[in-house]
Subunit: 181 residues, 2 copies
């Protein structure tokens, strides 16, 4: 078993039960773009705070009132989003008013929109029940309803059960001992 390189291991695994070419258990679970993203947005309330900010709700009091969230929890969530670079706190002053501040999505925050739309589309289809979806989101330019589509670089649209193949990327890290077959 000495000095089995990755390719040899990979071939050995190909005869296994996995649908993908490689055995995903060879890869360190925490070195993963899903794990990293969920560290940012996986806390309770975070996605709803972001949802409201996408919808133009920007002030602390408005967020607290609409979400019905405890103020100390909202404070922590917003601080986390600011630290993560998804949101920035901006001061402004309206004529004759004291200075106030509001929270605005950064570019990195706006980039989460496909995630929110994918999460919403799932809920619309699987969790809305007989009432139907609570909200429609449409393209302001043309009125077409918004959705997300899985597709490949060659333009094929993918259904949830189409076969995909996972391949280690440049940032992969391997578990020290290979998993038991």
């Amino acid at each position: 078993m000495a000095s089995l390189g990755f390719d040899a291991q990979l071939i050995r695994r190909m005869i296994g039960v996995m649908p993908a070419v490689m055995d995903p258990r060879q890869l360190e679970s925490s070195v993963c773009s899903i794990a990293r993203t969920m560290e940012l947005i996986g806390h309770p309330w975070t996605l709803l705070v972001l949802r409201d900010m996408f919808n133009g709700v920007r002030r602390f009091d408005e967020l607290a009132e609409h979400l019905g969230i405890a103020r100390n929890v909202l404070t922590r969530r917003l601080a986390g989003l600011v630290d993560a670079g998804l949101v920035e706190k901006v001061s402004y002053r309206e004529p004759g008013q004291r200075a106030r501040h509001e929270y605005r999505l950064t570019e990195a925050g706006w980039a989460l929109r496909p995630v929110l739309i994918a999460v919403m589309a799932y809920g619309d289809e699987h969790l809305a029940g007989s009432d139907g979806p609570p909200l429609r989101v449409e393209h302001a330019g043309c009125g077409g309803e918004i959705t997300v589509r899985m597709e490949c670089a060659h333009g094929h649209t993918l259904t949830p059960r189409d076969r995909l193949r996972a391949i280690p990327g440049p940032g992969a890290r391997y578990v020290p001992t290979p998993p038991t077959p």
Copy 2:
């Protein structure tokens, strides 16, 4: 202010600061497809358990080992996924072995794939750092890399900052008192 119907309110709000036509604070925050979906998949570890199941890891021991998760937590997460109808527990017996069971995604579970791909794509682009993405996922049919695309029903591809419009759907529920302007 008596008997202001929704349309009148809506027009009144259009002059406000919201980018969308309606004031989203009029809608009950918890009656929301994002909130409902996050009740299913928003617990710590859940998306990573699902990720491993999408990758073909199906047995309790394998999941526990790869994820490095406490067994009691994994038990709870799997029970929650079974209760929610995303996963089913299936018994099987290999020749000469005792009966075992494994966890398989249901159709409702497979339908979460675009969510996972969207979450992964975000992490690849914004959180992978100089090492690059840990994993590439490609279409087994053609080798094209997988991504998600936001698009509207009229076929327009949308960038994260394109203007969208939120419109109450059939399942909308309104807050009892209108928000302060």
